[in-house]
């Protein structure tokens, strides 16, 4: 099973393609499919076939949605690919990966604390670990474009 199989698996879920600097392959998927992609990756290639490097959240205020980028490193080729999804800004909820992929813990907790994305099924989400306490008391998410900080 080479890297081509991994790309074709990601391709089968994707609704769009692209390139992220520096020449990383980008697969856009539906938010409801993100968990299924990772389940399929684990099932076909095992935990040794890839790892989740980080989760990056970006607030696209003008488009009314939040962009989530999952950076995946394919092993043993060490090739980084990006799994991108968009969730609505008013109701930013997506399925958690932490029960099938423990490495998602830090990325999900940080994205929740700074951007307010709710990862459904993650029992470790809380405010105030990354964000300062005064912002938490005001209920603000610092990486939101309209937070005013």
């Amino acid at each position: 099973m080479g890297v081509v199989d991994k790309h074709s698996l990601l391709e089968s879920f994707s609704v769009g393609r692209g390139v992220v600097k520096p020449s990383r392959k980008l697969y856009i998927v539906e938010p409801g499919n993100v968990r299924r992609v990772f389940e399929a990756l684990i099932e076909k290639f095992g935990y040794g076939g890839f790892y989740l490097s980080t989760i990056v959240g970006t607030d696209l205020k003008d488009e009314g949605r939040i962009r989530l980028d999952y950076y995946i490193v394919l092993l043993p080729e060490e090739e980084t690919v990006v799994l991108r999804t968009f969730i609505p800004r008013e109701n930013p909820v997506i399925d958690s990966l932490v029960d099938i992929l423990p490495g998602a813990l830090s990325g999900e907790c940080e994205t929740h604390d700074l951007l307010g994305v709710v990862f459904r099924g993650n029992p470790f989400l809380k405010r105030g670990f990354f964000a300062p306490r005064d912002l938490v008391e005001k209920g603000e998410y610092p990486l939101r474009k309209d937070s005013g900080v």
């Binding site: 300062p132 306490r133 005064d134 912002l135 610092p142 937070s147 900080v149």
Partner: protein
């Protein structure tokens, strides 16, 4: 100021030849930390001034602070400072420790070290050269020797 000069001289003799450093990073990018670590290597030989790292904050005489002080680090910095014995001096190393640097307006940053604890010496630079840090320490020791140092943390009563 003059009161510090009068009452401080005798007490400061305790640390004049053996100022022990404690290094604390309050949110630096690690650039200044690498330079501080380079400063205490034998290449720059700080032990000719008696300078060495203290094994604990409770044995420290000089607190070397690097990095912009974040809101979370500010609480820890105050706790560390309160644990130091008198007399105690703080050196702010790098542009961020002086006034927050490029991070000064960030939502998570208080500002410079002097917003939290009294500072005796500032070393500018981004990052400062090891020679500059050592020069800052030596100049502070010179001020201690002359009894002209301000902000000993104990109102000159040490």
């Amino acid at each position: 100021m003059s009161q510090v000069k009068q009452s401080g001289r005798a007490g400061y003799r305790i640390i004049r030849y053996s100022p022990w450093l404690v290094h604390f990073n309050t949110g630096a990018c690690n650039g200044c930390d690498i330079e501080v670590l380079a400063t205490i290597t034998p290449v720059y030989d700080p032990e000719r001034f008696g300078v060495k790292l203290a094994p604990s904050i409770r044995h420290g005489d000089i607190l070397v602070v690097t990095g912009a002080v974040t809101k979370k680090a500010a609480e820890r910095l105050k706790i560390l400072y309160d644990q130091m014995p008198c007399p105690k001096f703080v050196i702010a190393v790098g542009a961020c420790a002086i006034d927050g640097g490029v991070f000064s307006k960030s939502y998570s940053v208080v500002g410079g070290v002097d917003r939290v604890v009294p500072v005796a010496a500032y070393v500018p630079g981004c990052p400062p050269r090891p020679e500059a840090i050592l020069d800052g320490i030596a100049k502070l020791l010179d001020l201690i020797k002359k009894g002209e140092v301000v902000n000993d943390g104990c109102s000159g009563q040490a």
